[in-house]
Symmetry: C2
Subunit: 156 residues, 2 copies
DNA sequence: GCTGAAAACTTAATAAG
DNA sequence: CTTATTAAGTTTTCAGC
Protein backbone atom coordinates (compact mmCIF):
# COMPACT_ATOMS: atom_id res chain seq x y z
CA UNK A 1 0.00 0.00 0.00
CA UNK A 2 1.32 3.42 -0.97
CA UNK A 3 0.86 6.23 1.51
CA UNK A 4 0.08 9.71 0.30
CA UNK A 5 0.54 12.86 2.31
CA UNK A 6 -2.99 12.62 3.73
CA UNK A 7 -2.21 9.17 5.14
CA UNK A 8 1.09 10.36 6.55
CA UNK A 9 -0.50 13.35 8.25
CA UNK A 10 -3.19 11.18 9.78
CA UNK A 11 -0.58 8.68 10.99
CA UNK A 12 1.40 11.47 12.56
CA UNK A 13 -1.59 12.88 14.41
CA UNK A 14 -2.84 9.58 15.81
CA UNK A 15 0.66 8.92 17.14
CA UNK A 16 1.04 12.37 18.61
CA UNK A 17 -2.30 12.72 20.36
CA UNK A 18 -4.15 10.35 22.58
CA UNK A 19 -6.36 8.53 20.10
CA UNK A 20 -9.41 8.49 22.37
CA UNK A 21 -9.29 12.27 22.69
CA UNK A 22 -8.88 12.92 18.97
CA UNK A 23 -12.01 12.55 16.84
CA UNK A 24 -11.95 12.02 13.09
CA UNK A 25 -13.39 15.54 12.90
CA UNK A 26 -10.39 16.95 14.79
CA UNK A 27 -8.01 15.14 12.45
CA UNK A 28 -10.02 16.25 9.40
CA UNK A 29 -9.71 19.88 10.45
CA UNK A 30 -5.94 19.71 10.77
CA UNK A 31 -5.40 17.66 7.61
CA UNK A 32 -7.88 19.59 5.46
CA UNK A 33 -10.26 16.82 4.37
CA UNK A 34 -13.70 15.69 5.57
CA UNK A 35 -14.20 13.51 8.60
CA UNK A 36 -15.59 10.78 6.30
CA UNK A 37 -12.29 10.72 4.46
CA UNK A 38 -10.35 10.44 7.70
CA UNK A 39 -12.61 7.56 8.70
CA UNK A 40 -12.00 5.81 5.35
CA UNK A 41 -8.25 6.35 5.49
CA UNK A 42 -7.99 5.09 9.06
CA UNK A 43 -9.89 1.96 8.09
CA UNK A 44 -7.58 1.33 5.14
CA UNK A 45 -4.54 1.89 7.34
CA UNK A 46 -5.89 -0.67 9.79
CA UNK A 47 -6.90 -3.16 7.10
CA UNK A 48 -3.51 -2.97 5.41
CA UNK A 49 -1.81 -3.66 8.75
CA UNK A 50 0.06 -0.36 8.96
CA UNK A 51 -1.85 0.55 12.10
CA UNK A 52 -1.68 -2.77 13.95
CA UNK A 53 -3.94 -1.66 16.77
CA UNK A 54 -4.32 0.81 19.59
CA UNK A 55 -2.78 -0.27 22.88
CA UNK A 56 -3.08 1.40 26.24
CA UNK A 57 0.22 2.35 27.82
CA UNK A 58 0.07 1.12 31.42
CA UNK A 59 2.05 2.66 34.26
CA UNK A 60 2.81 -0.61 36.03
CA UNK A 61 4.26 1.04 39.11
CA UNK A 62 1.10 3.11 39.67
CA UNK A 63 -0.93 -0.04 39.05
CA UNK A 64 0.78 -1.65 42.06
CA UNK A 65 3.25 -3.73 40.07
CA UNK A 66 6.61 -2.35 41.18
CA UNK A 67 9.04 -4.73 39.49
CA UNK A 68 9.94 -4.01 35.89
CA UNK A 69 12.93 -5.78 34.40
CA UNK A 70 14.45 -6.27 30.96
CA UNK A 71 16.26 -9.54 30.34
CA UNK A 72 18.87 -9.38 27.58
CA UNK A 73 19.02 -12.93 26.27
CA UNK A 74 20.63 -15.22 23.75
CA UNK A 75 18.50 -17.87 22.06
CA UNK A 76 19.46 -20.41 19.37
CA UNK A 77 18.94 -18.64 16.03
CA UNK A 78 17.16 -21.55 14.36
CA UNK A 79 14.63 -21.64 17.20
CA UNK A 80 14.33 -17.92 17.70
CA UNK A 81 10.78 -17.54 16.48
CA UNK A 82 9.43 -20.47 18.50
CA UNK A 83 11.36 -19.51 21.59
CA UNK A 84 10.19 -15.89 21.31
CA UNK A 85 6.58 -17.06 21.21
CA UNK A 86 7.11 -19.33 24.22
CA UNK A 87 8.75 -16.50 26.12
CA UNK A 88 5.78 -14.24 25.34
CA UNK A 89 3.40 -16.85 26.73
CA UNK A 90 5.26 -17.00 30.03
CA UNK A 91 3.23 -15.34 32.81
CA UNK A 92 4.50 -11.85 33.76
CA UNK A 93 6.20 -11.36 30.39
CA UNK A 94 4.67 -8.32 28.65
CA UNK A 95 6.95 -7.74 25.66
CA UNK A 96 9.47 -9.68 23.57
CA UNK A 97 11.74 -8.35 20.83
CA UNK A 98 13.74 -10.37 18.36
CA UNK A 99 17.03 -8.84 17.26
CA UNK A 100 18.97 -9.84 14.17
CA UNK A 101 22.17 -10.83 15.90
CA UNK A 102 24.06 -13.98 16.85
CA UNK A 103 24.06 -13.30 20.57
CA UNK A 104 21.92 -11.05 22.74
CA UNK A 105 19.20 -11.55 20.16
CA UNK A 106 16.13 -11.53 22.41
CA UNK A 107 14.86 -8.82 24.75
CA UNK A 108 12.27 -10.00 27.27
CA UNK A 109 10.39 -7.45 29.35
CA UNK A 110 8.95 -8.67 32.63
CA UNK A 111 6.74 -7.06 35.27
CA UNK A 112 5.68 -8.41 38.64
CA UNK A 113 4.25 -7.75 42.06
CA UNK A 114 7.02 -9.69 43.86
CA UNK A 115 10.68 -10.26 43.12
CA UNK A 116 9.77 -13.94 43.06
CA UNK A 117 7.62 -13.27 39.97
CA UNK A 118 10.71 -12.08 38.15
CA UNK A 119 12.85 -14.92 39.46
CA UNK A 120 10.30 -17.44 38.29
CA UNK A 121 10.36 -15.97 34.78
CA UNK A 122 14.16 -16.27 34.79
CA UNK A 123 13.80 -19.98 35.59
CA UNK A 124 11.12 -20.46 32.96
CA UNK A 125 13.26 -18.79 30.29
CA UNK A 126 16.18 -20.99 31.28
CA UNK A 127 13.97 -24.06 30.87
CA UNK A 128 13.10 -22.85 27.35
CA UNK A 129 16.78 -22.91 26.41
CA UNK A 130 17.15 -19.14 26.63
CA UNK A 131 20.38 -17.77 28.15
CA UNK A 132 19.91 -14.63 30.19
CA UNK A 133 23.02 -12.53 29.59
CA UNK A 134 22.07 -9.57 31.77
CA UNK A 135 19.00 -8.27 33.55
CA UNK A 136 18.30 -4.57 33.75
CA UNK A 137 15.84 -2.61 35.83
CA UNK A 138 13.67 -0.38 33.63
CA UNK A 139 13.42 3.13 35.05
CA UNK A 140 11.51 5.05 32.46
CA UNK A 141 10.27 4.84 28.91
CA UNK A 142 9.42 7.61 26.46
CA UNK A 143 7.86 7.45 22.98
CA UNK A 144 7.58 9.98 20.21
CA UNK A 145 5.73 10.13 16.88
CA UNK A 146 7.84 9.79 13.77
CA UNK A 147 8.18 13.28 12.27
CA UNK A 148 8.48 11.80 8.79
CA UNK A 149 4.72 11.33 8.74
CA UNK A 150 3.94 14.91 9.68
CA UNK A 151 6.30 16.99 7.58
CA UNK A 152 3.58 18.59 5.46
CA UNK A 153 1.25 19.58 8.28
CA UNK A 154 0.88 23.30 8.82
CA UNK A 155 2.54 24.37 12.04
CA UNK A 156 4.72 21.28 12.24
CA UNK B 1 -5.06 4.25 44.05
CA UNK B 2 -6.10 0.72 44.94
CA UNK B 3 -7.33 -1.51 42.14
CA UNK B 4 -10.16 -3.93 42.75
CA UNK B 5 -10.98 -6.91 40.57
CA UNK B 6 -13.30 -4.83 38.36
CA UNK B 7 -10.43 -2.44 37.58
CA UNK B 8 -8.06 -5.32 36.90
CA UNK B 9 -10.51 -7.01 34.55
CA UNK B 10 -11.07 -3.78 32.63
CA UNK B 11 -7.31 -3.22 32.40
CA UNK B 12 -6.84 -6.71 31.09
CA UNK B 13 -9.50 -6.34 28.39
CA UNK B 14 -8.31 -2.98 27.09
CA UNK B 15 -4.80 -4.43 26.77
CA UNK B 16 -6.01 -7.59 25.11
CA UNK B 17 -8.42 -6.13 22.57
CA UNK B 18 -8.01 -3.30 20.18
CA UNK B 19 -9.37 -0.37 22.19
CA UNK B 20 -11.18 1.21 19.25
CA UNK B 21 -13.12 -1.98 18.61
CA UNK B 22 -14.10 -2.53 22.21
CA UNK B 23 -16.90 -0.35 23.53
CA UNK B 24 -17.59 0.23 27.21
CA UNK B 25 -20.71 -1.87 26.63
CA UNK B 26 -18.61 -4.81 25.39
CA UNK B 27 -16.36 -4.54 28.42
CA UNK B 28 -19.36 -4.22 30.73
CA UNK B 29 -20.81 -7.44 29.39
CA UNK B 30 -17.64 -9.42 30.03
CA UNK B 31 -16.92 -7.87 33.44
CA UNK B 32 -20.50 -8.04 34.68
CA UNK B 33 -21.16 -4.38 35.50
CA UNK B 34 -22.97 -1.61 33.63
CA UNK B 35 -21.37 0.39 30.85
CA UNK B 36 -21.62 3.51 33.05
CA UNK B 37 -19.44 1.81 35.61
CA UNK B 38 -16.91 0.86 32.95
CA UNK B 39 -16.89 4.47 31.76
CA UNK B 40 -16.36 5.73 35.33
CA UNK B 41 -13.60 3.21 36.03
CA UNK B 42 -11.79 3.99 32.80
CA UNK B 43 -11.87 7.71 33.59
CA UNK B 44 -10.46 7.07 37.08
CA UNK B 45 -7.75 4.83 35.63
CA UNK B 46 -6.78 7.59 33.20
CA UNK B 47 -6.97 10.36 35.80
CA UNK B 48 -4.82 8.42 38.24
CA UNK B 49 -2.20 7.90 35.52
CA UNK B 50 -2.45 4.11 35.44
CA UNK B 51 -3.62 4.24 31.83
CA UNK B 52 -1.21 6.81 30.40
CA UNK B 53 -2.82 6.94 27.00
CA UNK B 54 -3.73 4.89 23.94
CA UNK B 55 -1.05 4.70 21.26
CA UNK B 56 -1.30 3.18 17.80
CA UNK B 57 1.20 0.46 17.11
CA UNK B 58 2.69 1.18 13.67
CA UNK B 59 4.14 -1.48 11.38
CA UNK B 60 7.00 0.66 10.09
CA UNK B 61 8.01 -1.78 7.41
CA UNK B 62 4.53 -1.85 5.89
CA UNK B 63 4.47 1.93 6.13
CA UNK B 64 7.49 2.08 3.81
CA UNK B 65 10.09 2.67 6.52
CA UNK B 66 12.32 -0.40 6.26
CA UNK B 67 15.10 0.42 8.70
CA UNK B 68 14.50 -0.36 12.35
CA UNK B 69 17.45 -0.36 14.70
CA UNK B 70 18.02 -0.49 18.45
CA UNK B 71 21.08 1.30 19.79
CA UNK B 72 22.33 -0.01 23.12
CA UNK B 73 24.05 2.98 24.69
CA UNK B 74 25.90 4.21 27.73
CA UNK B 75 25.19 7.74 28.98
CA UNK B 76 26.63 9.55 32.03
CA UNK B 77 24.37 8.64 34.96
CA UNK B 78 24.10 12.18 36.32
CA UNK B 79 22.91 13.39 32.94
CA UNK B 80 20.75 10.40 32.07
CA UNK B 81 17.40 12.16 32.28
CA UNK B 82 18.47 15.14 30.18
CA UNK B 83 20.30 13.01 27.66
CA UNK B 84 17.33 10.65 27.32
CA UNK B 85 15.07 13.63 26.53
CA UNK B 86 17.53 14.98 23.98
CA UNK B 87 17.80 11.57 22.35
CA UNK B 88 14.01 11.36 22.14
CA UNK B 89 13.93 14.72 20.36
CA UNK B 90 16.34 13.55 17.69
CA UNK B 91 14.54 13.02 14.35
CA UNK B 92 13.89 9.33 13.52
CA UNK B 93 14.08 8.29 17.19
CA UNK B 94 10.75 6.75 18.22
CA UNK B 95 11.47 5.28 21.65
CA UNK B 96 13.96 5.69 24.49
CA UNK B 97 14.30 3.58 27.63
CA UNK B 98 16.35 4.37 30.70
CA UNK B 99 17.84 1.39 32.52
CA UNK B 100 19.12 1.42 36.10
CA UNK B 101 22.66 0.38 35.35
CA UNK B 102 26.12 1.89 35.18
CA UNK B 103 26.75 1.01 31.57
CA UNK B 104 24.39 0.12 28.72
CA UNK B 105 21.82 2.23 30.51
CA UNK B 106 19.97 3.70 27.53
CA UNK B 107 18.10 1.94 24.72
CA UNK B 108 17.36 4.13 21.70
CA UNK B 109 15.01 2.83 19.01
CA UNK B 110 15.41 4.36 15.56
CA UNK B 111 13.46 3.98 12.30
CA UNK B 112 14.24 5.41 8.89
CA UNK B 113 13.63 5.32 5.16
CA UNK B 114 17.36 5.29 4.33
CA UNK B 115 20.39 3.84 6.05
CA UNK B 116 21.66 7.42 6.16
CA UNK B 117 18.76 8.29 8.49
CA UNK B 118 20.10 5.77 10.98
CA UNK B 119 23.71 6.86 10.51
CA UNK B 120 22.75 10.46 11.13
CA UNK B 121 21.06 9.48 14.42
CA UNK B 122 24.26 7.68 15.47
CA UNK B 123 26.20 10.90 14.87
CA UNK B 124 23.62 12.98 16.72
CA UNK B 125 23.71 10.66 19.73
CA UNK B 126 27.50 10.82 19.75
CA UNK B 127 27.30 14.62 19.77
CA UNK B 128 25.03 14.39 22.84
CA UNK B 129 27.75 12.51 24.72
CA UNK B 130 26.04 9.15 24.34
CA UNK B 131 28.27 6.13 23.65
CA UNK B 132 26.74 3.57 21.31
CA UNK B 133 27.89 0.17 22.57
CA UNK B 134 26.11 -1.96 19.98
CA UNK B 135 23.43 -1.51 17.35
CA UNK B 136 20.91 -4.24 16.68
CA UNK B 137 18.44 -4.71 13.87
CA UNK B 138 14.92 -5.19 15.23
CA UNK B 139 13.20 -8.09 13.51
CA UNK B 140 9.95 -8.43 15.32
CA UNK B 141 8.15 -7.28 18.41
CA UNK B 142 5.33 -8.93 20.31
CA UNK B 143 3.25 -7.65 23.23
CA UNK B 144 0.92 -9.38 25.59
CA UNK B 145 -1.51 -8.20 28.27
CA UNK B 146 -0.48 -8.89 31.84
CA UNK B 147 -2.51 -11.89 33.01
CA UNK B 148 -2.42 -10.63 36.58
CA UNK B 149 -5.16 -8.16 35.68
CA UNK B 150 -7.46 -10.77 34.20
CA UNK B 151 -7.28 -13.72 36.55
CA UNK B 152 -10.89 -13.43 37.72
CA UNK B 153 -12.53 -13.12 34.30
CA UNK B 154 -14.71 -16.02 33.31
CA UNK B 155 -13.20 -18.00 30.51
CA UNK B 156 -9.65 -16.73 31.14
C1' DG C 1 -11.08 9.30 -5.28
C1' DC C 2 -13.99 13.04 -2.26
C1' DT C 3 -18.06 15.14 0.35
C1' DG C 4 -22.38 16.21 3.16
C1' DA C 5 -26.16 14.35 5.45
C1' DA C 6 -28.43 10.70 7.80
C1' DA C 7 -28.26 6.62 10.51
C1' DA C 8 -26.02 3.87 13.85
C1' DC C 9 -23.35 3.71 17.53
C1' DT C 10 -20.66 5.22 21.78
C1' DT C 11 -19.65 7.96 25.68
C1' DA C 12 -20.52 11.10 29.41
C1' DA C 13 -23.71 13.44 32.41
C1' DT C 14 -27.50 13.10 35.28
C1' DA C 15 -30.69 11.61 38.64
C1' DA C 16 -31.70 8.23 41.83
C1' DG C 17 -30.76 4.26 44.87
C1' DC D 1 -20.18 2.90 45.34
C1' DT D 2 -23.78 1.35 41.61
C1' DT D 3 -27.28 1.68 37.53
C1' DA D 4 -30.74 3.32 33.77
C1' DT D 5 -31.80 6.98 31.15
C1' DT D 6 -30.81 10.43 28.16
C1' DA D 7 -28.26 14.05 25.91
C1' DA D 8 -24.18 14.94 23.42
C1' DG D 9 -20.82 13.53 20.59
C1' DT D 10 -18.59 10.31 17.15
C1' DT D 11 -18.17 7.11 13.42
C1' DT D 12 -19.86 4.87 9.45
C1' DT D 13 -22.70 4.46 5.52
C1' DC D 14 -24.42 6.00 1.34
C1' DA D 15 -26.00 8.80 -2.57
C1' DG D 16 -24.10 12.09 -5.47
C1' DC D 17 -20.22 14.30 -7.45
Amino acid sequence: MNLDQTDRSILYLVQKENRTELSTGDIAEQVGVSSSTVSNRLRRLRESGIIVDYKPEIDYEKAGIPHHVLFVCTAPIGDLKRVATDALNTPNVVNVRELLSGTRNLLVEVVGVQTTDVERVAEDLDALGIDIETSEIVREEYSRPLGHFGSQLSGE
